[in-house]
């Protein structure tokens, strides 16, 4: 066991052994069901996500991209293999320790239903910190709120915010505790293209200006083009990878993969 669970904030932790990698997967295998109904969602996937970079995971439906993200984010457990966040292997953690790890080292942006309807925007943003009973870094939180342009809406409840604003609150929440890594599951899937672009711009900025690590699952090449690196999954395996991709390259690759 490392000190991963007892550290109150990811930012103040001493550098983990593999500083270069915010998250790693080694021989990650996930099997659903048994016998005839057995589905191999992940087959011995090996991948590393470097700190301070924006990565995208793409692939057709059923390729295992969401499963990979969920297992790496500590929302689900692998059948075999290992996932580590900031050097901490997840398979050895209890449900409680895993929860605490999610709270401290991981941020989440989901496609929809990202916010608690009874809490204000600010309360939603500080929720992981509040759950930990920590005050967090006030200046940082104010900076994040200002950066996402919600300064004048921080005391509104989700039903008083537009879809784009709600998603910006979700991103701000993911940033608030300065996690080691943020996972996004189709974060712009429910938004119109202009609002979606706004969110992606903001995520890009978080990586470039704030040094945040982001891993995003998407099926949209335009979204993936915001990233530094795109991984392509098919049938539970990584089949291709592009660095600094353009939307056209991604389109081409996808068409290719379909062959």
């Amino acid at each position: 066991m490392t000190d991963a669970t007892s550290t109150s904030s990811g930012t103040s932790a001493p550098p983990p052994p593999s500083r270069g990698h915010a998250a790693t997967a080694t021989n990650a295998t996930k099997i659903y069901g048994e016998g005839d109904t057995e589905v191999r969602a992940l087959r011995e996937v090996n991948v590393e996500f470097e700190a301070g970079r924006f990565s995208a995971i793409m692939g057709p439906s059923g390729s295992g991209k969401s499963t990979l993200m969920q297992c790496m984010a500590g929302l689900d457990r692998l059948t075999s293999g290992e996932v580590a966040i900031a050097g901490q292997p997840l398979s050895v953690l209890s449900d409680k320790d895993l929860t605490l790890l999610r709270r401290e080292k991981i941020g989440f942006v989901f496609q929809a239903y990202n916010l608690i309807p009874t809490l204000t925007a600010r309360e939603n943003i500080t929720l992981p910190l509040d759950l930990a009973g920590s005050k967090g870094d006030r200046d940082w939180i104010d900076e994040v709120i200002t950066t996402v342009g919600l300064k004048d809406r921080e005391h509104h409840r989700p039903n008083e915010l537009s879809g784009g604003q709600q998603q910006r609150v979700a991103v701000a929440r993911a940033l608030a505790s300065r996690p080691d890594i943020i996972f996004g599951d189709e974060p712009t899937g429910n938004l119109d293209s202009r609002t979606g672009a706004e969110i992606l711009d903001f995520m890009r900025k978080a990586v470039d200006d704030l040094g945040q690590t982001i891993v995003m699952v998407t099926h949209d090449p335009m979204s993936a083009a915001y990233s530094d690196r795109v991984l392509f999954l098919a049938d539970g395996q990584i089949v291709h990878e592009i660095a600094s991709p353009s939307a056209d390259e991604i389109f081409d690759t996808m068409r290719h993969l379909g062959d």
């Binding site: 929302l75 009874t118 809490l119 759950l131």
Partner: protein, 848 residues
Amino acid sequence: MWKATLKSIRGHKGRVVATAAAVILGISFLAGTLIFTSSVQRAFDNLFATVFETTDAQIRSTETIEVGFGVEVRSRIDDSLVADVAAVDGVEAVEGFVQGTATVIGSDGEPIGNPGQGPPTFGLSWGEDPELNQFTLSDGRAPAGPGEMALDDTTATAGDLSVGDQVTVLTSTGSNTFELVGIARFGTSGSLGGATSALFELGEAQRVLGADGQLDGIGIRAADGVSEQEIVDLVSSVLPAQVEAITGTEATEEAQSAIADGLSFFNIFLTAFAVIAIFVSAFVIANTFSILIAQRTREFALLRALGASRDQVLGSVFTEALIIGIVGSLLGVGLGIVLSLGLRAMLAAFGLELPSGGLIVWSEMPRIVIISLVLGTIVTIASALFPAIRAARIAPVEAMRESAAETWQRNRVRFLVGLAIVLIGAAAIAYGLLAPEIQWAGIGAGLMFIGVFVLGPTIARPISRWLGAPIAALRGTTGKLARDNSMRNPQRTARTASALTIGVALVAGVTVLASSLAATIEDTVAEGFTGDFAIDSGAFGPGGGFSPALTAEIAELPEVETATGIRVGLGEIEGDGDFFSVVDPDTAFEVFDIGLFEGGPETMTDDAIFLLDDRAESLGVELGDTVSVRFVDGGDRDLTVAGLYTEPALAGNQAISTSLYEATGAEQLDFASFVILRDGVEIEDARTSILSVAEAYPNAEVQDRDEYIESQSEGLNQILGLIYALLILAIVIAAFGIANTLRLSTIERTREIGLLRAVGMTRGQVQSTIRWEAVITALFGAMLGVILGLFFGYAIIYALRDQGVTRFDVPILQLVIVVVLAAIVGLLASIVPSVRASRLNVLEAIAS
């Protein structure tokens, strides 16, 4: 649509079980009460059916005094009649018998049975004719003369007494010791319906029971071929005035109906709690249905979009309610059987032992099942009425929208309607209590609950905010989320809390009432009782108390200035049976100040009566007028109103002198004696002397002034305990309601819980959130309940002000305990739903 309904029931077993649980619990109490009382009634019926089986006719006095609820005394007849009757042609055998009160002391020195709280304690003569004697020996021999006795089997066992023992028996003639020579059974039963029976040879019985030369009745066996009616006709010709003969069949029927009368109060009492349980259930059922229908908005809208008519949707909900009602009621009857045993055990724990006629009286079951089924089904369908109408109004377009389960607008109309119902209810209570027509008070209370139910949602949000503030402040985010959740759907919070409101209101009302009554009694006794010691038998009414000999012995003690015994007499005043306080005018007024403002000790002669001022007013008589009074010896006495007083708590409606009551030939027992000490005597010295005398009377408890004053309200505590125990069921049903709502709410918030878990909420924190939400909901319900309870309590106290209830005492500590217990009920109700919610799979929750 039928198919869809059935599928819907089968597909949502959890919610069906949840709704049915409320029906089952509500009906089980009703069924349990009916099963239990039918068993008790059957036990007595069987008993008396066998008792008079071999008796063809019975002779007795026509003179009786009845005061309701089966309390009756009958005059005695001269024992010379036996010879006259025996001489009549057609009479095969005759047997005179006497009965009276006798308290048997067990081997531990404690009296067996207390007629104040349970079956009577009889002293009886042993019948020589085996066919006229209902007792049969199971051990030893029959009591044959002075100093011998037999006992019924049950009493002998209870007192750990066996043949050969010396047994102390207390009767109106004093404390006597007998040799136990036989043990007997009553028909097929161990005892006479739970009563204790001390059996003596006839002459000894007459002596011991103060009935020299007298009999309570004569049993007759007719010769072969002479019918019951014929023998009655034959013997009637030799009977003097005021003596009658009845057939054995009539005697059986009378005994059975007297028991039925005695049990009727009891039935009404239990039925009231059954109605409360069903009423609370109705709230829980209505609430569960309305949440379910809100959650199924899309399902209904889809059905409508696919072509289902409004009537079909309505029919579908009603069918579901019908099925749940029928199944729940039947299961309720099943649980009722178990509950009837629980009732028996509970009443036994409160000192009310009742005989059993078997677990189930099968001939009564069809009636019980039908009542339960009809009532349970009607209540379920009626509770589903408004939710069903709402379901039918769902427009098909709702199918395309996000769930509208949690929309709520402040509603002025609702507020005004709710307020109006509360006020109408309050008015009905006022009318019901002042008229007095008690059913209106009950209806009024019901209306107030419904009014609060309607009103609740409009006040739930601010009150939850307020109640939740300390929790939010102390418990951090989980506390805040709990408070927000309790505020987000105030309608649901209010409805969920309403079932608890009813239970808490009744508990709080009864608590306030009891506390006020206790305070009033203690005040009254403290003011009125001027003595130093009281010797209390704990019994009140005919058939309880100790021999006046005890009072006489105490009066002889050197430490004692005055000792006076108080008895309870039965008589009819202007045709109405009632209790009479029987006092010794020479001494009683020294010990008690009953607020006498006309007359004095010297005016209480043997043809005088003292009346309570209100009683005199209602009789329309004044000082110096005469009233017609009849006692057990028959014949009207014109008594002069020679005194008026103001304290009903001390002297009841009317008081007469001991010497007058002794002249009526009624059994003479002091239910208590009161003592004033000579000047300068130490309390503890006096206590020792009094105790040494009272030792021979184990049913007499010696108390000093303070102990006595305090003990006067103890009887209330016992009744209070029984009422609390019966109200627990209402609280349990309310807890099910809270658990139901939480369960349905957490299902609705599955995704939200999933999100919270994903961003770092631990299982413990999920549970804590739901737990505190339950506590806030329960506190909301308890708070309204306490307010209503205070109102109910005050209304009843106000209505009783003419009966001398002067204090309105609010027991803050008890009410705080009630509220805390309600919060604990909420906590317990949250266990299952919160554990279930915390175990949700995070991924599935988010994906749902």
